[in-house]
Symmetry: C2
Subunit: 241 residues, 2 copies
Amino acid sequence: MTEASGHSIWLRPERAGRGPAPAFDRDRIAAVGVALADADGLAAVTMRAVAVVLGAAPASLYRYVATRDELLELMIDRVNGELSYAALGSGRWLDDLLALARQSRSVYLAHPWLLDATATRVPLGPKAVDYLEHALAALAELDVSPRTKLEAIGTYGAIVRSMVRMEVTQRLAGQSVPQWQQAQAEYLTRVASAGHHPHLATALATPPPGAEKQQPEPLFDRVVTRVLTGLLQTACPTSAV
Amino acid sequence: MTEASGHSIWLRPERAGRGPAPAFDRDRIAAVGVALADADGLAAVTMRAVAVVLGAAPASLYRYVATRDELLELMIDRVNGELSYAALGSGRWLDDLLALARQSRSVYLAHPWLLDATATRVPLGPKAVDYLEHALAALAELDVSPRTKLEAIGTYGAIVRSMVRMEVTQRLAGQSVPQWQQAQAEYLTRVASAGHHPHLATALATPPPGAEKQQPEPLFDRVVTRVLTGLLQTACPTSAV
DNA sequence: ACGATACTGCATACGACGTTCGCAGAAAAG
DNA sequence: CTTTTCTGCGAACGTCGTATGCAGTATCGT
């Protein structure tokens, strides 16, 4: 009967106290993983690298975590803990969800690897559940089915990730010219000037809105607001923003 | 002066005709990669696996592709070629973009690995450029800045991916009970019944809308429509759908 | 016609990765 | 004190992406 207790790490007890005291715990491992990812990206989060920082051998990590994926889940949930729900409870669901989106945005900006980590996975750690609970609470007064609410929350999370990804991408482009957007731009203009793709050509020819620097926050707020009203409108909104 | 000609594979000529004739070409490699990914997912697309199917040695692939990432780019662009723009040109941009979204959806459903492949990357192969051109053409009459149009196209692509991902996930759940959603559901209900998270509890308690099977297409159309009107509304829409 | 040139496929190998196995030792339970 | 159950971990396995160098072949310049 060596049946593995729980399939999910959140159902598996961290410690069943018989043997010697563990040298660390899930929290410490998650913290090390986050630090590594913050510094050098998700690819830098290697079992060996984490072990080295902890002063342990690679195999030791498997006493705390069944697989590298679980380590990533721990990391995701840890940074989800940086979300604050203090600004919620305005009574207006749109304001609450916009505030929630801003919180998410700041967490993504603080930990850009989170965009990659959550691109495939659907994280459902305790902190993610807290997030879900608060989002549902904001929509409590709204008269749509719970199913619709959950779908709207998921969809609007995807939007937030998508927008922050754009923001991060062109932030990198601004500071280091990673010679990747360079190649992309060269390729795009070459394609556009090839004759076909007239709409693309004119779109590329039109200069980015003004010569002055465009702030990303207003854009973020506007898009999120519009998507939310589009998703959850019961009556026609009064064209906010 | 052995300067690598282009950084992007789309700028690099496939063949500069001096030596002996190559045994295959990019198209064949991309086709093999797509077949492997269709059968067993993205992880099955290994340089060695592709080489075996082609009857070649692993190192030979690097005569056609600089890295595995480029192979994935070839695959992405190949399946982007399955998009059809025949249903476009209705004159109503919303109808055109909805038709485009449906096309994308069917491609994602035919090649679920495409969701993972494009989750991080922003593909810009020739076929992706064609897609962009058609999307811009649909929005030609609309009086918003090209910048806004591009952002809207990107955002709405993210929505489509997000929704199809949900659809694929619960399609898998329906047929094979991958014992993963099992653990997730168990965990969620346990959390919900722990007392905190009242909204989540009621949302989980409410049964999925009816006992009858819910078709995904109407949901897809409704959400995409709402998001698009939310993103690009110039006046208040007449609450379509 | 014929070397020089510039390509081809490929055998081999390197280093890094996630993960497994088994064992010596330590703490708690009986 | 014995037994049980945990601990950390040395060592290894298998797989992966990729680099290197070499023998062979088709084209080009003359």
